[in-house]
Amino acid sequence: MSLRLNKNTFNKISIRLTLGYAMLFILSSAFILFLNYFLFSRSIQTRDQNILLSKSKEYTSIYLKNGSNELEKYLDEEKQGDLDSQYLVRIASPDGRAIFLRLPENLKKNSPELIEKKLSELKYIKGLATFFLKEDSVEEPDELNEYEVAQFTLANGVSLQVARNTDDRDDVLERYLGTILIAMLIVLIFGSIGGFIFSNQALIPVRNLIQAIKSVRAGALSTRVPVKNSNDELDEISHLFNKMAEKIERLVLNMQETLDSVAHDLRTPLTRLKSKAELTLLNPTATVADYKTSLVQTIENTSEIVSFINTLMDISEAEVGVLKLNLVQVNSTVIISEIIDLYSIVAEEKNIKIEFDYMDEFNFFADRNRFKQVLSNLIDNAIKYSEENKTVRIVTKKNYSTFEISVTDQGLGINEHDLPKIWDRLFRSHELKSVKGLGLGLSLVKSICQSHNWNISVKSQHGAGSEFLISIKD
């Protein structure tokens, strides 16, 4: 049911386009063709009329030169030459009476009085007029035929009329009209077909889009529509759809990953505290001290869980681009010194030296707390994974229009195989399983850097140490 509905909705647009296009095509063709017909008809009419006028002048000059007998002879000769082009010729005296009348063969049935009557009653405009007569026709004896007549008046008042029927002309025009109507029919057919094809072609991207949207709704998040790069509006929609689908896919994947992390990694501290609590309760010889221990561990584990959730949410927000940053201008030396201040005590315990080389000092925009999180993480890692008596070096340097902050340690280093994976959530290299930590640190670091549009990279040699570099564009 829904399929038909959709097809119908689709067809409505393509049919509307088809009809619109065909209509336009047909109407403009009709306009042109009929204009053509009209002009043609006028033109041959004018031609016929000119012939009549020149004939009337011709006969007049013969009559004047040689009289009516000569004119008769002349007209007979003409009749021999061309049976079809017979003219009705009448010459009238100044008072309107006919003094010469010559009828074509097919009008012989009409009485001269009738013709006389008709011709004398005519009103001439520019020497031209029309009237109707019945012809001797076997097929249509009662049909009235149209005659065109031209009049030429001499100086002495004598007038000459030459008339001819419009049959020839009418035949031509009839055939021409026939041709036009056939042409119109062809235009109609091709116009409709063309319109239908064009509109369907144009709407192919729309069809693709409809399919893709249905597909995405059904769960196939990696569906994309083909893009022609033709820069037209439908192509732009396709492009935008793809971008939107990509974002949806990314958001859903991110959400799935987060939920997976949560499910997986909350279970460890939860299991720890639950099992400790249960065992304490089950222990018949448990002392107050034992209960205390159990409660203390509960607090420690729940703190770990809260911390984990907070960090995970930060990473999630940063990755989908909704992490709120409170940007202020900070001074590199000041803020890094504050952070080093915190870790210097911890470093001293392992006799690790923290060197801060502020080669170049710069001001940049950052969310104070987030920047502190990033650098704290890097420095903490550097100290954690270094042995005693080593050095951790922090350098701030200007490299053309980029500010660079590097944290270098002489610790365990990262092996080549693990290097690209260190930014993944929850990645802990096998060697580090014993070291305390959640594995979210670097993932958070990367997310925060990305939110600020900073670049972070790492160079490392297994066994020799690592260097983390943050690049901030001015």
């Binding site: 205390k292 221990t293 409660l295 203390v296 561990q297 509960t298 607090i299 420690e300 729940t302 809260v306 911390s307 907070n310 709120k324 409170n326 504050e338 201040d341 915190l342 870790y343 005590i345 911890v346 315990e349 707390n369 502190k372 999180q373 704290s376 903490d380 930590g437 640190g441």
Partner: protein
Amino acid sequence: MNTLIVEDDIEIAKNLMDGLTQNNFICTHVADGQLGFDLALKNQFQLIITDIMLPGLDGLEMITRLRSEKIDTPVLILTAKRSLDERVLGLQSGGDDYLVKPFAFVELLARAKNLVKRYSPILKTENTQAAHEFKFHDLSINLLTREVYRNSKKIELQAKEFQLLDFFMKNPNVPLSKNQILEKIWGYNFDPQTNVVDVLVYRLRGKVDKDYGQTYIQTIKGIGYVLKTE
């Protein structure tokens, strides 16, 4: 200290009340914002502790209305929402301080006491005495001369160690959490996942407690540290 607690989770409310009562607070509890508003309007409370997500009237709306009724009792907001925007909104609505759940009880206690002190005229006058010298039994600290003595013996402390002792001496017998110490001494308001506080306390103890018999700086496991006699 007359306190109104507006919280719809019964367990949280009960724990809060137990803890506060142990510390000489007198607590009244309601579970929705409308009741909270009504009570606060009618009674003279010295502190209001409220959640945001409440049935009836929500916390922020309740505070806004109280402020428009010229009730200026200090308000401590407890909430599960941790975003900065939420915090700003809470303070703009008229709240005075903000704690994100789950919170450490000692922190809530410290902030509650602070708010009461700040807004209480009587306690305020008590505080105006010159406070640059603090004593705890045989331990003394002078903030002006930077001198520390225990049992008349002078103790040399490094800068951070001095700051930590100062914090303890100003809060005798009050448990201080690691977060509170972190915030007070290094200005950090997030947990940097490091044991720096433990290390510093250990060092301070080494200088102030080790050779003196009685340990004043004590550890309360799961809670923090406290300056008290055994």
